[in-house]
């Protein structure tokens, strides 16, 4: 079981209110991703759940029990850190066995669990090496191994992939997702990368300045963002925002159109191509549209438009409407 419930959780460092007050429920077995820009409080929130930081006020319940004042070790959670935080003086085997040793488990059971975790994570041939002799991806696997042997109520991941190179990151992302499928344990995952959030999460929590902007399934956030912040943060490339006369035509203060929802060809908007990137599978264009501004366009396949060309565009998908305070209409 791993249901986590936050009620009116606040965190201040002196006069700085990092988390001004958050209510959130993470259901048992859910994969929840906290996403937001740097300094939005997502890591602090995770550390509050872990018990590595004390809450200023509010309560944190784990499986219905008040855990607000419990030390990290007593919360039954496991955490994977950005820097891996492996014990450099211990072998991989001892690293993975460390939480079991601390729990006073007998040696036979310890060995059994370490072997099993090593098998799952492809670490069997590295068990007698030290962390310093491993690659970044292998270190990350050891850190995950150390977390899974404890069979915790929930896993907490603090930007675990940000130190890996792009190719490895995609691989590890899938491994973590598969791990979640097989363990069915609650996972809370912090990242600033919205692609990670979209691909892994059952539920995304978008944070900004310590506040929850929106909670929902990935596609829910993509299709119906509650406000300008979420609309701009979820989706890559970023949603185009248009104000002025064009927005007024749609009876809104601001309208938003995703780059993939603009078609190249015939249409009401006309402009000059600035930057053009041709990736084969997609083409990305920056177009200075007359009377509208610069729009980013993502067109599938190859598009014969290059720098300086004059082209016409048409909105070909949902137009998101926002009021003056940035809330969706």
């Amino acid at each position: 079981m791993g249901k986590i419930e936050l009620t009116k959780v606040r965190k201040s460092f002196g006069d700085v209110h990092v988390i001004p007050g958050i209510d959130l429920t993470v259901e048992d077995g859910e994969f929840v991703v906290f996403v937001g820009p740097s300094g939005c409080g997502k890591s602090t929130l995770l550390r509050l759940i872990a018990g590595l930081e004390d809450t200023t006020s509010g309560t944190i319940e784990i499986d219905g029990k008040d855990a607000t004042a419990l030390p990290p070790a007593k919360r039954g959670l496991a955490m994977v850190f950005q820097s891996y935080a492996l014990y450099p003086h211990m072998t991989v085997r001892k690293n993975i066995a460390f939480p079991l040793k601390m729990a006073g488990m007998d040696q036979v059971e310890q060995d059994k669990r370490v072997e099993r975790a090593a098998q799952v994570l492809n670490l069997t041939s590295y068990l007698d090496r030290r962390p310093g002799q491993l690659s970044g991806g292998q270190r990350q696997r050891v850190a995950i191994g150390r977390a899974i042997v404890r069979e915790p109520a929930a896993f907490l991941f603090d930007e675990p992939l940000s130190n890996l190179d792009a190719a490895l990151r995609v691989g590890m992302r899938q491994e973590i997702s598969e791990l979640h499928q097989s363990l069915k344990t609650t996972m809370i995952y912090v990242t600033h990368d919205q692609v990670e959030a979209m691909t892994m999460a059952d539920k995304i929590v978008v944070l900004n300045a310590g506040r929850i902007e929106q909670v929902g399934a990935p596609l829910e956030l993509y299709n119906t963002p509650r406000n300008l912040f979420v609309a701009g943060f979820i989706g890559s490339p970023k949603m185009n925002f248009i104000e002025g006369a064009e927005a007024a035509r749609h009876k809104a203060h601001t309208i938003g159109v995703r780059p993939e929802h603009i078609a190249v060809g015939d249409g009401p908007w006309e402009g000059v191509v600035g930057l053009s990137e041709h990736l084969g599978s997609d083409s990305f264009l920056k177009v200075a549209v007359d009377g509208v501004g610069i729009l980013t366009v993502r067109a599938p396949g190859e598009v014969g438009a290059h720098h300086g060309d004059r082209i016409r565009l048409a909105p070909a998908g949902k137009i998101h409407r926002f009021d003056e305070s940035g809330n969706a209409l």
Binding site: A73, M79, A85, Y87, P88
Partner: protein, 276 residues
């Protein structure tokens, strides 16, 4: 980045280094040479570096006239004891200062260091009286306490510097893994800081071994270490340079040997954190 050095430059820097080393080492060399001279050639004017009549007589006489093994043993107990006691107090203190600093931690560290600036003579009378009343005069335990207190600021400062280099996330990971505070210090912090702890230990043994103010003031016979052993050869019949040198050489030899074999560790410890 490697810098190309010409052979000429290399020779010059090597010579300069040897010259500086010789200047620093000269008093010790002089002392060792003098310890093998007769009393007459030791005070010859003008002074002679080398003499024709080398002798071991000084060592024989010093050994015969006093109980060297007892002084040696006292030095060992006092320097190792005060260092171990100091580490036992300093490891938790430095842990707290490095990982859960308060608003005034920096001030506290500076204050501790400032006590080292105070001349020891200033507190000689009160400390002497306290030792007298508590019956600690001329006891090994008394000296262990006195030297531990004297070196504690340095021990804490050194450990604090080493601990600061250990990433806090690793300690947090151990907390998540179920380690108690004690488990965290024993299983994670101490092994990771072991090179630093070893350097601190060595340096403090050397400092305590060489300490010659409190060890002389607070002892008479029973607990007197090698510093008092040297001092006993300077009075009251007058100065006998050759014998004094022999006694000094015997007193510093053990620590010189220790320093020689651990110089790598010492240098590494002292430059820890300065070079990455």
């Amino acid at each position: 980045m490697a810098r190309a050095t010409s052979p000429r430059r290399k020779v010059l820097t090597t010579l300069a280094a040897w010259a500086v080393a010789l200047v620093i080492f000269f008093p010790v060399l002089w002392m060792i040479l003098t310890s093998f001279k007769t009393e007459v050639s030791a005070v010859a004017s003008p002074p002679q570096l080398f003499t024709a009549d080398w002798t071991l007589e000084n060592y024989v006489e010093v050994w015969g006239r006093s109980d060297y093994p007892r002084f040696f043993w006292n030095s060992v107990v006092i320097s190792v004891g005060s260092t171990l006691l100091g580490l036992a107090i300093a490891i938790p203190s430095a842990w707290a200062m490095a990982f859960v600093p308060g608003k005034r931690t920096k001030d506290l560290l500076m204050w501790m260091l400032s006590t080292k600036m105070m001349p020891a003579v200033a507190v000689m009378i009160p400390i002497y009286l306290i030792f007298l009343w508590t019956g600690l005069i001329d006891t090994k335990i008394g000296l262990v306490i006195a030297l531990m207190l004297m070196n504690l600021p340095i021990i804490i400062w050194m450990l604090y510097t080493y601990f600061k280099e250990i990433p806090g996330e690793i300690l947090e990971a151990s907390r998540m893994d179920g380690a108690s505070l004690w488990g965290e210090i024993v299983h994670v912090l101490t092994p990771m800081a072991l090179p630093g702890i070893a350097s601190t230990m060595l340096l403090n043994i050397i400092l305590a071994w060489n300490e010659a103010f409190w060890t002389i003031v607070l002892t008479t016979t029973k607990a007197a270490p090698l510093s008092a052993f040297i001092a006993s050869f300077s009075a009251p019949q007058g100065l006998f340079y050759a014998k004094l040198s022999a006694a000094s050489a015997m007193a510093i030899m053990p620590i010189l040997i220790l320093g020689w074999f651990s110089q790598k560790q010492l240098v590494r410890g002292l430059t820890f954190g300065a070079v990455k």
